[in-house]
């Protein structure tokens, strides 16, 4: 006889709630239309700024990757006249340090500020994975212009392990970059035996694995898939293994300085002096291509955008910062910012006095529904796992003729569009 008692109380409570809801609706018709969804909402008071977090790598070896994107977001803000729905746009800068630890601390700082509407970032996949664990749960939405690890979205059309709702990117999924590099090596260079080296970071591991998978699907053989430590200097043992496995090509999509040592010591290991060396977008920087040992190396990476709109963007960038874009992902970050602005404009509920409400769930859904958005990098359409890019991958080569990174990027040997 006890059971019905709590059932009754629940039923009673439910009925009361319904009555209350019905009454509330009747009492204030139209006055307070906005009610926040399950993920909460941001309310921007009249005159207050709309805050956007820009969460990029701003220090250390990969600072140029983040700085480039931060500048691109600033150009995007200026293109909007610095305003969104009559409110000034405020950029909150955060450093992801290209590391998991700073991904966590940065995300904690973002969720501690409930006025932040959305996040542009991070620069590195390794920082994005722990950051999203915090941001996703708190209802935030993040759009990255340079995360490329397949782990963050999807692998072979299936949801990847680190994919979380609220994550989007305008950069390519490295499955595509891996496929591009594998196609180039197999079809254009005609090589059939490759070795891959990563350093344990999600970006490097994802790309090396994607390359290996595509390469084997094409009919090539990955004779050795191995890894090195981030701080490792003595590469002779690992390169000796690579040589012993009979690799004709070494694909090492890692970072400096480990990549410096691989390129330098490969020439000293018997059996590897003739092997082809290939890196990826993480190494496409002035400091790397200037090294004498990187002459002759191939690199896969995102294609430089073309077209008058892009030229215009570069003009504004150069006018404001005194140099041409310094890395490969500025256009992606610019597009990410514009996707974010468009979604804010779409879901914002404006009141007569200028107060703006942005529901976090609706905002997230609006970003996810982005389709046919014309950006600098192409037509941006988000899939169910947050991949929004219109990917174009090129393979470039650093030869004797190329002295700067711009010249290397312009020496395109192969273009891949899925």
């Amino acid at each position: 006889m006890r059971k019905p008692r709590w059932l009754v109380s629940i039923a009673l409570f439910g009925a009361l709630a319904l009555v209350a809801a019905a009454c509330a609706e009747e009492e204030e018709p139209g006055a307070e239309e906005f009610s926040p969804g399950p993920l909460g909402a941001v309310t921007v008071e009249p005159g207050a700024p709309i805050k956007i977090a820009v969460f990029e790598s701003l220090s250390g070896d990969t600072a140029s990757l983040g700085e480039d994107q931060l500048r691109a977001v600033q150009v995007a803000v200026d293109d909007k006249g610095g305003e969104l729905l009559g409110h000034p746009i405020e950029i909150v800068e955060l450093d992801d340090g290209c590391a998991a630890e700073q991904g966590t601390t940065g995300a904690q700082r973002i969720v501690a500020d409930p006025e932040i509407v959305g996040v542009i970032g991070t620069s590195c996949s390794g920082a994005a994975i722990p950051a999203m664990e915090i941001l996703s749960e708190e209802g935030f939405t993040m759009i990255s212009g340079s995360n490329t690890s397949p782990l963050l979205t999807s692998i072979a059309g299936e949801e990847a392990t680190a994919h979380l709702p609220g994550y989007f990117r305008t950069a390519h999924n490295d499955e595509i970059q891996g496929a591009a590099a594998a196609n180039f090596v197999f079809s254009e260079l005609g090589l059939t035996k490759a070795a891959t080296i990563h350093d344990g970071d999600p970006y490097t591991e994802g790309l090396a694995t994607a390359f290996g998978k595509s390469f084997e699907e094409l009919g090539g053989e990955v004779v050795l898939a191995t890894s090195v430590g981030v701080d490792q200097k003595d590469m002779k043992p690992v390169l000796t293994e690579v040589a012993a496995a009979g690799a004709e090509l070494v694909y090492f999509p890692i970072f400096q300085p480990a990549a410096d040592f691989i390129a330098a010591q490969a020439k000293e290991v018997a059996g590897l002096d003739a092997a082809v060396l290939m890196g990826a977008d993480g190494l496409l920087s002035d400091t790397y291509i200037e090294l004498p040992q990187t002459e002759g190396m191939y690199f896969s990476g995102p294609a430089s955008p073309t077209g008058s709109e892009y030229e215009e963007f570069v003009g504004k960038y150069e006018a404001q910062f005194g140099e041409k874009p310094i890395q490969a992902f500025h256009a992606h970050a610019y597009d990410a910012a514009n996707v974010l602005f468009a979604a804010v404009e779409e879901v914002a509920v404006e009141e007569d006095d200028g107060t703006v409400h942005i529901d976090r769930e609706q905002f997230r859904n609006a970003v996810a529904a982005t389709s046919g958005f014309q950006g600098l990098t192409g037509t941006i359409t988000c899939d169910e796992f947050g991949d929004c890019a219109d990917p174009k991958i090129t393979v470039v080569r650093n030869t004797e003729a190329e002295k700067t990174i711009d010249q290397v990027r312009a020496n395109v040997l192969y273009t891949f569009e899925p």
Binding site: G200, T226, P237, A270
Partner: protein, 359 residues
């Protein structure tokens, strides 16, 4: 009589659990090493020439560890504490060696007399490291002499950070690439062992410096004074030996060796940055413990053993055991060797003398 027998039996009974466990670990490690090596060699994955190449690489790397380890072991020998700023003394030598080499690389001498130019860089690196080591001793350690050993140890950690960030502030945090030396490109083969010219230079330079150090410590008056101070400071001072001077000399010699190691390391890997000293310092410390801390020959032996373990370990043992990405575990292998030595032979490979005299 009966009582002592009973005591022994009781002690044996009490320790047997720990002993059994240690024996178990010993057997597991030995079996793993033997099995991994057998699998690696029998698979014929690497040719004999490639194995020899790894040995040469290990010896050349180990020589640099040995040079730096000398500084740890000598300071420990006289003062009984670990000078943790020694890695930064090494980095300073490497850094200044870079600036001198870089300055000389544009001159005609770099092309026509490369070894004279390298000798100048070597002397500059050694002089810098010696001075820094001396200043460290005078400013950071001498005022603390006689205090508990933990006090200079903590100061050493502080000095290490101070030096790292002073260099970062003075010369920037970016890594600096040594200029290429044409004369050191390529290599040659001696009895089947293929040496890169840089590797050969590192090994030869290390041998020369070791002989010099041996003669200095064993044959000169100052060397005898150092040995006396390391035996018994008080007694040495009663015999009219200037203890302060001898200790300063130990720091100077250790610094010079680290500076030379710094330049050789720079030539091997072609790069240096302000944090380069950290890992090398830890490895060299490991080498000095491996060889038996306080023992000069031990430092060199420890360095060579550590270099060989690092170079051969992943390919020989881990790869043979089927560990994926074995080479990422290079440092793990090195430090595992340290743990094994500390468990099974705490005095190190050549540590008997220390054990007899001071244990």
């Amino acid at each position: 009589m009966a009582e002592t027998v009973g005591l022994k039996a009781r002690r044996a009974g009490r320790l047997s659990g720990v002993d059994a466990f240690l024996w178990f670990v010993r057997v597991v490690v030995l079996v793993a090493v033997a099995w991994g090596s057998y699998k690696s060699i029998s698979s014929g994955r690497l040719t004999a020439a490639q194995w020899r190449g790894l040995i040469v690489a290990g010896v050349s790397q180990g020589a640099v560890y040995g040079l730096v380890a000398l500084g740890y072991t000598m300071v420990y020998g006289v003062l009984r504490f670990i000078n943790f700023a020694h890695g930064e003394v090494f980095m300073a030598g490497s850094m200044i060696g870079f600036f001198v080499a870089n300055g000389l690389s544009g001159t005609a001498m770099w092309a026509s007399l490369p070894f004279v130019a390298l000798l100048i860089a070597l002397l500059a690196a050694m002089a810098t490291s010696t001075s820094i080591s001396l200043v460290l001793e005078r400013v950071a350690y001498r005022p603390l002499r006689g205090l508990p050993r933990l006090v200079p140890f903590i100061t050493a950690v502080g000095a290490s950070f101070f030096l790292q960030y002073t260099f970062a502030g003075l010369f920037g945090a970016d890594s600096k690439a040594y200029p290429p030396v044409e004369a050191l490109k390529g290599g040659f083969t001696i009895v089947g062992f293929r040496f890169g010219k840089v590797q050969a230079l590192v090994i030869v330079a290390t041998i020369v410096m070791m002989i010099g150090l041996y003669l200095f410590v064993e044959r000169t008056k100052a060397g005898r004074a150092i040995r006396a101070v390391s035996e018994d400071q008080e007694m040495a001072s009663l015999m009219g030996i200037n203890v302060d001077r001898s200790i300063a000399l130990v720091f100077a010699v250790g610094g010079a060796m680290a500076g030379a190691g710094g330049l050789l390391y720079g030539l091997t890997f072609g790069q240096v940055d302000f944090l380069s000293g950290f890992l090398v310092g830890i490895k060299a410390f490991t080498a000095s413990v491996l060889g038996g801390i306080g023992n000069l020959a031990g430092a060199m032996v420890g360095g060579l053993v550590l270099g060989l373990i690092e170079s051969l370990g992943p390919s020989l043992v881990l790869f043979g055991l089927g560990v994926p990405s074995a080479h990422q575990l290079q440092d793990v292998v090195a430090f595992l060797a340290l743990v094994m030595i500390l468990i099974f032979r705490p005095t190190g490979i050549l540590g008997e003398r220390l054990a007899e005299e001071r244990a």
